[in-house]
Assembly symmetry: C2
Homo-oligomer: 381 residues x 2
């Protein structure tokens, strides 16, 4: 599906807004308080006069607000979900106002651990409070307050983005008309927590991490963050896609029986791992994986997941991909069954795919039309 025949959204630019400035403040799920908060976002299309055509796209762990188009003519790659967004695309910018915000705790323009702590004049580092998916969503709601947008036509996202979509439906049932969570869960599994712990450990093991205080040292924990990214990357693929993509191909000048010899899969992980620290902050990775770990829609409900889901009023269309072994489709099946039992308007579309957890960033042709059809069926635009 890439490159697209049409032009997409073209050259775009991020916007920045400061909210929750004193005497206002932002209350975190932990009970701690934060503010002022900078929010970076991008938007595409035109907000209707009734402000009823807003689609919020939520990004995953390593994403950012730059979801479509090019931030400059020289940029080699478009935003991370570009094939989904533009005139005539699934999120049709001729009809909808599409917006994506960098999440709270991120490192691409929204306040996070690399931001300056106004109380000290230095980066927060590990003094930044632990933030949650609910906090990310609450901050997005505050942004929409500032923009005068009261209702969202749809909240859509995969993985951590899907968690945000679900959290929107539970936290703000009167502000959201539909959600499309892809490749996600209602509560992070111990397998995922385990992988996240290992990613954090690999960063914290890096001597350049210095308990998070590396910003002024001139040496960042590149090896640790690269290793964390390799772990992430591996869990985003699938056995089948890797056999196809890499097989057992290997190259090395000293022959294959040497540590210098690298299987193609090793070179791929290395390349992607070491690309990552150029664009991502290690402490932010710690905070966002922690946000994944604490994600549990049911956490504050004595009645558990059923009570949380009972609050949902909007239409829900889940997508899962059969080879995803990080966020198992069974999780979504269970959520769907519970919501159906509660009389909710919910569908689950299982997409046959070999691309594992990353399928929602790859196999657009398998689900994009089912996204546009769903949003088109909501009416009111």
């Amino acid at each position: 599906m890439r490159p697209m025949a049409d032009k997409g959204v073209g050259v775009t630019s991020p916007e920045h807004i400061r909210i929750c400035e004193p005497p206002d403040e932002f209350n975190l799920q932990s009970g701690r308080i934060l503010g002022p908060i900078d929010v970076a976002y991008e938007s595409y299309g035109t907000l209707s006069a009734q402000k009823d055509n807003v689609i919020l796209v939520c990004h995953a762990l390593s994403g950012d607000a730059h979801v479509a188009g090019f931030n400059s003519d020289g940029e080699s790659k478009p935003g991370w979900w570009d094939p989904m967004i533009g005139p005539g695309r699934a999120l049709d910018t001729d009809k909808y106002y599409v917006i994506c915000t960098n999440v709270l705790g991120g490192c691409k323009g929204t306040t996070g651990p690399a931001s300056i702590n106004p109380r000290t004049g230095k980066p927060f580092a590990m003094r930044f409070p632990v933030v949650t998916v609910r906090d990310m969503v609450d901050l997005q709601a505050r942004l929409f307050d500032a923009l005068g947008i009261t209702e969202l036509l749809c909240v859509i996202g995969g993985s951590m983005g899907g968690m945000q979509a679900l959290q929107w439906a539970v936290s703000y049932p009167d502000r959201v008309r539909s959600i499309i969570p892809l490749s996600t869960t209602g509560a992070t599994s111990p397998l995922n927590i385990g992988f996240n712990k290992i990613c954090r450990r690999s960063i914290m093991n890096d001597p350049n991490w210095r308990d998070g205080n590396y910003y002024e040292s001139g040496e960042e924990p590149v090896d640790g963050l690269a290793l964390a990214r390799m772990i992430g990357h591996l869990t985003f693929m699938s056995d089948k896609s890797m056999r196809r993509k890499f097989g057992r191909r290997i190259s090395g000048r000293e022959g294959i029986y040497a540590f210098t010899a690298q299987y193609d899969v090793e070179r791929y992980l290395h390349y992607n791992g070491y690309n990552f620290p150029r664009r991502f902050d290690a402490n932010s990775y710690l905070y966002l994986t922690k946000a994944l770990d604490t994600f549990d829609l049911a956490v504050d409900f004595p009645g558990g997941m059923e009570e949380a889901l009972s609050l949902i009023e909007c239409r829900v269309r889940f997508f899962t991909f059969t080879s995803d072994w990080l966020y198992f489709p069974e999780d979504t099946e269970e959520l769907t069954a519970t919501m159906k039992k509660l009389g909710k308007n919910v569908e689950h579309i299982s997409v046959e795919s070999d691309y594992g957890h990353d399928a929602f960033l790859i196999e657009y042709e398998k689900f994009a039309h089912k996204v546009s059809e769903f949003i088109g069926s909501l009416g009111g635009c």
Copy 2:
């Protein structure tokens, strides 16, 4: 099935032998030469006069020769496959002579990177040659030469142990009457190579690793090896078993929204990770994961896997466990199908289990009787 009603093999002690002493030498698959080589092994039961009752147990990545019984009265845990071995157990020491050797490249008595290089008087460290599963098997064959044992009744093992069993059948078709490979593959997958690469990277990232020259520094790469072990451990479990064992339980004095708070799965990984460096050498972990990566029965055969498998003459009974997502049962299905096509005497028993790759070390009651029945059916004892 643990603790066992019967006594098992009781107190056992490792044996040590030096082989391949000059002018003899050991030729590695890489073309390099090694020798002399120390081999540590344990044996249980009595070798028959005809020397026709030998069962070779092959250990996995982090195992060793101490497969059953206690090396001293004070030892808290028996050998790693104790429930399988003893009078009346699956590998019945009243009938069979059961032997297990620490693999080449290991760190529990057999020559490996921590051993003294006779040419320098210092540990080999990363000057140790890359060894392969075929080398491990060749060394076992040399040991049996030294012990005057020409034929093995059965070679059995899980994971890397299963690779050795398969390699025995291919390399020494006239010396082995049956093999029982559990939870294994005929060629390591790119997913596994990816995980192994990440494990090695976590060790090599540790500043105490010092390019492998840590033996005399007084500081071992404990953090790196512990992290590698955590990754391994996580991949040995399954989503289901982890949900049951850990769920989302968490504890922390500062509440759950703090980095000091630890989910139970995190504490488990940490505990097991940091226990490991006490009993395992980091360089050995590098060499053994490299041996896993290079494992491919077909590597030296122009006709590929079919040609390799065509050499097998013995009976084969494979075991896989349904929730194993590290060594997929589909791999074994494919091997079985190919061997059947070639007219080999092969069976594949799929065991329903939630315990993932580790099932062969846990759910003995589900397969032990099918091991003993198979070996009993071989006759000749």
